[in-house]
Symmetry: C2
DNA sequence: CTGAAAGCGCTTACAG
DNA sequence: CTGAAAGCGCTTACAG
C-alpha cells in the first residue's frame, strides 16, 4: 500500500517508467549512474512494486500454495516449517489452506488458489483421490504428498510407510515379541494402509501374531486403544501405534491402567515428531523427517514450475529410519505365543 | 492458469465483458436470464477470474498474512489452525511466513508481503519491538500478537500471561508448596517476562520461595532445567515451566533421574497445547486457547480492514484458565521451607 | 439493463 | 542505453 508507483519514481528521477522497471529489476541495459539514482529515489519514496500488476503481466505469482487436510499437531507444523524454509530460499510466498476433511472442500481450496499461485502442494492421504486428480491436472504444476496414484499423472512424494512399518515389526520381533498389537489409522488413508500392510506382511513373514486395533491418527484414539488393551486378559507384549500421536495417547492409557512401559509392555510409534524423544519413556519410532519431506516436495514443485514443461510424473518414496529409544524392551521371558 | 478470460466468456455469451463482470460478481443490474446464461458458460469454459487483474483494480487482495518468528511445535499449528479457520470463514487467503528470529528478517517478511495482503498478523514476542513498529504502522492494517507496545499505535492481542502465572503459583501454594522452581523463557520475550513477573509478584505475596531457572521455551531447555533440579540436594517441591514444551522436557529429565511426578515433585506448564493432557502424568497447566487467540486476532484484523479507518488501537488481553491435572499434588508433609 | 471506454501499475518488444 | 506504446484481465463510472 506504499502509495508511490513506478510513475512517481520515474518522474522524480527524470526518466521513463521503462527505465525504472529495468533498473529495479536488475537488467543490464541501464547505466550504473542512472540505476543508482533510481534505486536511491525508489528507496526514498518507499516504492514497492505492485505484485498484482507484475503478476498480471509476467503471469507469475511468486507464490505457491499448500493445501492440507487438517492442521493439527506437530506433524503439520513440521511439514509447514519445511515447506516454508524451502519456499523462502526460492523467494516464494506460501499460501496455506487447511481444515478440509473431504474431497469437495479440498477441491474448493485448490480452485480458490488457482491463479494466485504458480504451483500447488497437496497433502492428500485419501486413497480415493481420483476425483481430485482431474481437477488438479487441469492447470498448474502440482505435487501430491502422502499418496500414490499409480495411474495418476500427478507426481507424488511420500515416506516409505511400508518399509518403516516392516522395520518396526522386525525390531519388535527381534526383541522377542511374538504377539504385537497395531493401532491403525483411518481406513481410507493411504499412509495408514501402507503402514498396516507393512505390519501384516512382515508379521506373517516372521510368524508373529498381529492384533489390529482401530484408530484415526489422533491422540484420543490411541488412548482408547491403550485402554482396551489394558483390559485385555491376554494382551500382546508390544504395541505399535500407526503414528506418534496415537502412541502418546496409548502411553497415557497404559499408564492410567498401571502398566509400565516398557517393563510390562513395549510401545512404538511412527513419524518421530519432535516431542517423541521427550515423552517418558522416550518413544521408539520410525523417523520420517517430516520437514525434509515438505522441503523436498517444494523443490520438486519449483523445478516443475521453472522447467515450464509438464511435470515429470514420478512417485518418489523417502527412506525412513528406525529410532530405538526407551519405550521398547525385550519381551518378558514367559510372555505369550 | 485456466486459459479462458472474461473476454472469452463475453464472446461466447454474446455480451460485453462489463455484463459478464456484473453477472459473475452478483450485481443486481443484470437480467436473470442473462446472468444464468453467463454463469453456465463461465462454468463450461472453466473460467476463473484473474486475481491479479482484480486486485490491481479493486486494490484488494482478499488475503492476509501471518508473520511468525518460528514454526516449531504444537503452539504454532494451533495458532495457524485458528487463523486459517477464521480466514476461511471470511473468504480470505492466508499467507504464512515463518523462520525469522530477528527484527531484520521479520521486517523483510513484512515488506515482502506488502501489497500482496490486505492486512497482517504479526506474532512479535520481542519486547524491543519498537524498531518493527515503525515499519508496520506505515501501511496496511496490522494486529500484533503476544506483545504489548504500550505507547504503540499498533493494536495487539495477548493472553493474560501475568494472571495465568499468578494463578498457577496460587494453585501450587494452595497444595502446600513453599518452594517453587520457575523455568523462564527467553530473556527479551514479552510472554516470558510477563509469566515471570506473575510468578515473582505472587510468590512474594504468598511468601513462597522462588528459584528461577533459565530456559528458551523449547523442550531441550526444559530438560536441562529438570536435569539441574534433579541434581540439587535441596530441591523445590514443585516446578512451574514457562510453557508446556519445557514442562515436557523437564518431565523427561526428572523421570530420567528417577524422580516421580507428582509424588516426588510437582510439575506444571503453560499454554495447554493439545498434547499436554496426554503426557504421563497429564500435565497441570494454564489453558491459553491458542486457536481462539489466532481466530480472534484475525477477526480484529478483518474489522480493521473493512472499516477502512485507522485501526482502533486497543491492547486486548484474553483470560486464561487453570487446568489442574495429575502432574501436581500436595507437597510432601515435611518438604521444605 | 447493457455497452464502450478508461484505467489499475506494471513489463517488454520495438524503435531509435 | 533509453523512451513511447501496447497490453496483461479485470472493474466501474458514464452514457444510453
Amino acid at each position: 500500500m506504499s502509495n508511490s508507483t513506478i510513475r512517481d519514481v520515474a518522474r522524480a528521477a527524470g526518466v521513463s517508467v521503462a527505465t525504472v522497471s529495468r533498473a529495479l529489476n536488475g537488467h543490464d541495459n541501464v547505466t550504473p549512474e542512472t540505476r543508482d539514482r533510481i534505486v536511491a529515489i525508489a528507496a526514498e519514496l518507499r516504492f514497492t512494486p505492485s505484485s498484482a500488476a507484475r503478476s498480471l503481466i509476467t503471469r507469475r505469482n511468486q507464490a505457491v500454495g499448500a493445501v492440507l487436510p487438517d492442521l493439527h499437531g506437530e506433524y503439520f507444523s513440521e511439514l509447514i516449517r519445511g515447506i516454508d524454509l524451502a519456499a523462502r530460499a526460492h523467494g516464494l510466498h506460501l499460501l496455506v489452506s487447511g481444515s478440509h476433511g473431504n474431497a469437495k472442500d479440498a477441491t474448493a481450496a485448490v480452485n480458490a488458489m488457482r491463479g494466485r499461485v504458480d504451483g500447488l502442494l497437496v497433502l492428500w492421504p485419501q486413497v480415493d483421490a481420483e476425483a481430485l486428480g482431474d481437477d488438479l491436472s487441469a492447470g498448474m504444476p502440482t505435487v501430491l504428498l502422502n499418496t500414490h496414484l499409480a495411474h495418476s499423472r500427478v507426481p507424488s512424494l511420500a515416506v516409505d510407510n511400508f518399509g518403516g512399518a516392516a522395520k518396526m515389526v522386525r525390531h519388535l520381533a527381534g526383541l522377542g515379541h511374538r504377539r504385537i498389537a497395531f493401532i491403525t489409522g483411518p481406513q481410507h488413508n493411504y499412509e495408514a494402509q501402507e503402514r498396516l500392510r507393512g505390519c501384516t506382511t512382515t508379521a506373517a513373514e516372521l510368524g508373529v501374531q498381529l492384533q489390529v486395533l482401530p484408530g484415526d491418527f489422533n491422540e484420543e484414539s490411541g488412548w482408547n486403544a491403550g485402554h482396551e488393551l489394558a483390559q485385555q486378559p491376554e494382551r500382546p507384549s508390544a504395541v505399535f501405534a500407526g503414528n506418534d500421536m496415537m502412541a502418546i495417547g496409548c502411553l497415557s492409557a497404559l499408564s492410567d491402567a498401571g502398566l509400565r512401559v516398557p517393563q510390562d509392555i513395549s510401545l512404538a510409534g511412527f513419524d518421530d515428531i519432535p516431542i517423541a524423544r521427550y515423552v517418558t519413556p522416550a518413544l521408539t519410532t520410525v523417523r520420517a523427517r517430516i520437514a525434509d519431506l515438505g522441503a523436498l516436495a517444494l523443490e520438486r514443485l519449483v523445478s516443475a514450475i521453472e522447467s515450464n514443461a509438464p511435470t515429470a510424473v514420478r512417485h518418489q518414496t523417502l527412506a525412513v529410519e528406525l529410532m530405538a529409544r526407551q519405550s521398547t524392551a525385550p519381551a518378558p521371558p514367559g510372555a505369550t505365543g
